[in-house]
Amino acid sequence: MIGLGIESTAHTFGASIMSDDGKILSNVKDVYRPPEGMGIHPREASRHHSDVAPRVLKEALRQAGVSYRDLDFIAYSAGPGLGPCLRVGATLARFLSAYYDKPLVPVHHGIGHIELGSLLTGARDPLVLLLSGGHTMILAAHMKRWRVFGETLDITLGQLIDQFGRYVGLSSPAGPQVEALAQKGRKFIQLPYIVKGNDISYSGLLSAAKKASRKEAVEDVAYSLQEVAFSMLAETAERALALTKKQELMVVGGVAANKRLREILEKVAERHGSRLYAVPQEYAGDCGAQIAWTGVLYYRSGVKVQPESAFIQQKWRIDEVDVPWRS
């Protein structure tokens, strides 16, 4: 069985062909980059996605050596994300599904990150840190749902880093550039550390970091920002590990590519007799493979929709979604 996954929730338009034995036959993407200092503009991003879609899809098929007729299903990211961007992927998926008469499988973007992470790292029943532009959550599967142990009360870790980066003049997504700056930082600047139970709050940290960047070296602020933000997350991860006694700690999503974060989480896992499973860097960011693979899991479980009832959900809680293949 092989399927196509289309990803288009935010910056990235991606397409991937995967087989049901977990082989990534192709994974092609093109990332929209807004001008320096600017955030993502939904309409501009969706225009980018429409422009690159034919090429990305064609290339994904070519690399996998298949045609549309060979597919068993077509999966798309149905949310959460930016409306205009989601619509590009969903419209294409619906058209392909109707035209080639293939089952259509809607996928929750966050679950895509988790399931691709599980496949690639071999984690079987992990405590999950989902750290993307749209999510900062600690989760564990229980009774066929991903249950939220802790999350941000306001902005996500991805937004924190990206908005700080833009404020100091970097272009979005700014994660890798902020990380490079932080590596040059030496001086620790005290910034607000806010943990509430298993939840965290980053908005106070963002304002304080922006303010600090007006009088301190930007490298030092980037360094301190990362240290504080990651330590807050590490503390909540430690709480969840202490509560659940999970043997596996898995980190997925764009921010999972950060080396300092991985180093911290290694030590967190070690302290609790657990092991860190970090998604490989090239699959940390948004990509078609996360949708294709989760599509396989849903298709196997018999979840699909008719093209005419295809939907998107800009806001879509991960803990409202059934995951029939999980414990």
């Binding site: 949310g79 959460p80 619509r87 969903a90 419209t91 749209g134 999510h135 564990a140 229980h142 009774m143 249950r147 939220v148 142990f149 802790g150 999350e151 941000t152 009360l153 306001d154 902005i155 996500t156 620790f188 005290q190 550390y193 943990v195 509430k196 139970g197 298993n198 939840d199 301190s224 240290e227 504080v228 330590s231 590490a234 503390e235 909540t236 430690e238 709480r239 590990l241 202490a242 509560l243 180093e263 911290i264 030590k267 967190v268 302290r271 609790h272 009832s309 295809a310 939907f311 998107i312 959900q313 800009q314 806001k315 879509w316 809680r317 991960i318 803990d319 409202e320």
Partner: protein, 209 residues
Amino acid sequence: MEKLISRGAEADIYLGKWGPLDAVYKVRIRKPYMNEVLDSFLRRTRTLREAKMLRTARAYIPTPHVLYVGPKSYVLVLEYISGRVMKDELNSNPSLAFYMGVYLARLHSNGIAHGDPNTSNMILGASGKYYMIDFGLSYFTERIEDYAVDVHLFREILNVQHTEVYDEALRSFYEGYFSESKIEKNRMLDKLDEIEKRGRYSRRRSFQF
């Protein structure tokens, strides 16, 4: 200090003696991954804060006696309470959540947010008295928003740790909470809604295109 009984996120807990008394030693240990300045700042402020809030809260609800505070060694010595943890009892007796509701409401009515109201932080004492512990994230506040965050945190814990009895436990919790709270029920529930919607993907808004 004798025996390590638990390793939490921010402290190791030992059982020991304080003079003739059985005592709990709560030691905030160095986190190997954390920046040193931040690490010692957090350990010092939380040790001091916990001692202060345990003593303040005692006026309103049962909490263990503070026997010793060591802000430089990051150690807190507390009266040992023998009993069981609510976490281990709630699934067989969800109505116990009532008491969590009562205690949180009393704290809130007196300007205190607990900051970490989970079912591991309530001890059902062998004497029949229930104690609240773990005040390291506790603080003084007059904002209804902060009280609602406490309630949200407890709901979150019920959802992940007591999924099977969620509805029943939550009902008992609210019963207890609103029997003592000075805040009107609808006002609290609206605030909760607001918090849970904020900046996150909370509401189902599906549409066809």
